[in-house]
């Protein structure tokens, strides 16, 4: 399939026998217009830093991020290509490392696909069929991963569990060595070894470890665990002075390194056939007109689509002059409206309902750095402050990274990952700039534009996209 001259469809330049020229033209134009959805699909690639790819492990629930996809008009499927790699070829009894989990944030429709070990970094395609109905416009998708426990790494002593911390000790002959660093592991408590639950809570007996800080002297360490003990108060012993120690077995969790997410959108075909052999072609021509008019904005390429990066998107976004920026160009001079979409999690505490506002300043700069609109456009939002499953406040012993905020290099476990239960706490923002004329890209930096968004309050942004409408 490709764009064709209208006389390519028939055997000769005159079309079918007895076919009037108007019918011949209408048929060819309609054929072309009907090929738009398959020929002019959108797609893009969203990379993470190669030297700092996200590496996700999540036992309790899927953990991941959000991507924004411009579904145009009536997308019938979105094909995601995940570029991921595993550190070894270990798989569970189900012949997988876990499950890839894609959910449309709006409709909650989702697909689950077994994730194989992928040492050689082979591309992995997941088709998201829009079976709840065609999707149009901007759509947010949660792309996450849920781990299977893989090989056993040995036995450890569990001295205590307090808040988000589990005290671990090496066990003679246990085979597990406590080291400082990020972990993608699971501790399964042995119920026969002194595990005492406080209160009537049904505390989990399996805890994911995101990070361990080893004691400089003893063969012990503090492990950051998820979910936190603040959610499930648990004591290994009711009286630590007694010196009871529990035992757990440590398992490797499936934990793919994710380098990039690519996607392609396929839209519904127009199956209304033109009345090709009728002499009166007003209907067919108006259909062509409609298809073309719809195609002009619908099939414009996205301007930008940026995903979590440990050093800007996907981390705390601080006050001015810190800014979110992205560069774009258009392929022909166009007068239109730039629309940006992103997912934001305000991080500062609410003061009260009236003053708890997030002020965002939007701007588009031309190639000389001058505002297209003569200055920033201020917009106030009444967002709820993001309260994570466990506490947010930073300390040396919290699962901050497990909850999606990656702060300091090599300090915390999961980068740019968010439990599915927290995804809905994000604010999906779609902002439209005033209409403006953008010049076609040219040599010397002409036609290069930069979207700039600043804020007066710390927030976390995990996805950002821009398009022309």
């Amino acid at each position: 399939m490709a764009w064709k001259k209208i006389d390519d469809y028939n055997s000769g330049d005159t079309g079918y026998p007895e076919q009037p020229y108007s019918a011949f033209v209408a048929q060819g134009l309609t054929q072309n217009a009907r090929s738009y959805p398959s020929e002019l699909t959108r797609g893009a690639s969203i990379p993470w830093r190669r030297d700092a790819p996200v590496r996700w492990a999540s036992f309790g629930e899927p953990t991941g991020t959000i991507v924004w996809v411009n579904c145009g008009a009536n997308a019938v499927r979105v094909i995601f290509r995940l570029s991921y790699q595993t550190v070894d070829n270990h798989e569970s009894a189900a012949n997988r490392i876990g499950v890839w989990y894609i959910q449309n944030v709006g409709s909650l429709a989702r697909v689950l696909v077994d994730a194989p070990a992928n040492l050689s970094h082979d591309p992995f395609d997941i088709v998201f069929p829009c079976y709840n109905g065609a999707l149009s416009g901007y759509q947010a998708f949660f792309i996450g991963f849920q781990s299977d426990p893989l090989d056993s790494l040995g036995l450890v002593n569990v001295d205590y569990i307090s808040d988000n911390v589990m005290g671990l000790g090496e066990r003679a002959g246990g085979g597990y060595t406590i080291t400082t660093g990020e972990k993608f592991e699971l501790v399964v408590m042995d119920p026969t070894y002194n595990v005492i639950q406080s209160g009537a809570n049904n505390a989990p007996t399996q805890w994911q470890i995101g990070y361990i800080l080893r004691d400089p002297v003893e063969s012990k360490g503090d492990a950051v665990i998820f979910p936190g003990g603040t959610v499930y108060p648990v004591a290994v012993s009711t009286n630590p002075q007694v010196g009871k120690t529990a035992r757990g077995e440590v398992f490797e969790l499936g934990s793919p390194k994710l380098y990039s997410i690519s996607y392609v959108v396929t839209e519904t075909q127009d199956y209304t056939p033109p009345d090709q052999f009728n002499h009166y072609h007003a209907l067919a021509l108006s259909s062509v007109n409609s298809a073309q008019s719809q195609a002009v904005p619908t099939f414009r390429p996205e301007l930008a689509n940026i995903q979590c990066d440990p050093y800007h998107f996907g981390r705390v976004w601080t006050v001015i002059p810190d800014a979110l920026t992205s560069t774009f160009c258009v392929q022909s001079e166009v007068t239109g409206v730039v629309q940006v979409a992103f997912t934001i999690f305000p991080l500062e505490d609410a003061i009260n309902d009236l003053t708890d506002i997030q002020i965002l300043n939007y701007d588009i700069l031309d190639s000389t750095g001058t505002s297209v609109f003569g200055g920033e456009i201020l917009q106030n939002y009444q967002f709820d402050t993001f309260n994570t499953t466990t506490s947010f406040r930073s300390s040396a012993k919290q699962t901050r990274a497990l909850l999606g905020v990656y702060t300091v290099a090599n300090q915390w476990g999961m980068r740019d990952g968010l439990p599915l239960s927290d995804v809905q706490k994000g604010n999906q923002v779609v902002f439209e700039f005033p209409e403006a004329t953008f010049s076609a890209v040219g040599a010397g930096g002409d036609g290069v534009y930069t979207v700039k968004v600043t804020t007066g309050r710390a927030a976390w942004v995990i996805a950002f996209s821009a398009r022309l409408v």
Binding site: A2, W3, D8, V25, A26, L29, A33, S38, E39, L40, R42, G43, A44, S45, I46, P47, R50, D51, R81, S83, P123, Y259, S260, S262, Y280, H281, A282, L283, S286, N289, Q292, A295, V296, P301, E302, L303, A304, I306, Q307, D309, H312, A323, L324, S326, T327, F328, C329, Q331, S332, V334, S367, T368, G369, A440, V441, G445, D446, V448, T450, V451
Partner: protein, 156 residues
């Protein structure tokens, strides 16, 4: 009928169709030109990078992934960026590489790359962001790669 060219801008919807039983030549001409325009200018964004600042002398950061190309043959790509104090090197497997060097103050750059990649496939890419000599860091406010609009030579 116009010659076979692709309009620079959208010709707009045809007018003067009030009589449904009459198809004017200019209407058909507009249809044809608009058909080419839509097809030639609806080209894909391949990848865009987040804003980024290197934090130390000699810092290098690499992004890699797979970009889905449009179903038709792609012969040119635009690389556009806005940055200061650094060099951005872009390479694609089977494409070659190019670099954009930015000065001490933020400036826009655009580079048109000729290639001969075939469409309807994924293309591996690798983008390296490095600093230029003498500057402690590079500020990248954004960098994006797009397929270039088609020309009449690309169409049958």
């Amino acid at each position: 009928m116009s010659s076979f060219v692709i309009p620079t801008n959208d010709p707009g919807a045809p007018r003067n169709q009030s009589n449904p039983e009459v198809i004017r030549g200019e209407t058909v001409d507009t249809f044809l030109r608009r058909d080419r325009f839509v097809y030639a200018t609806s080209r894909r964004l391949l990848v865009s990078l987040p804003n980024y600042s290197t934090t130390s002398s000699g810092a290098v950061v690499v992004f890699q992934g797979q970009a889905p190309l449009s179903p038709i043959i792609t012969t040119q790509f635009w690389i556009v960026g806005y940055a200061e104090k650094g060099t951005v090197t872009i390479s694609l497997a089977g494409w070659g590489s190019t670099s954009q060097v930015y000065g001490t103050t933020a400036e826009a750059k655009s580079t048109l790359i000729n290639t001969a990649l075939f469409g309807n496939s994924y293309q591996s890419y690798q983008i390296t962001v490095t600093k230029t000599g003498g500057q402690p860091y590079v500020n990248l406010y954004g960098l994006s790669i797009y397929e270039e609009r088609l020309t009449s030579a690309d169409l049958p």
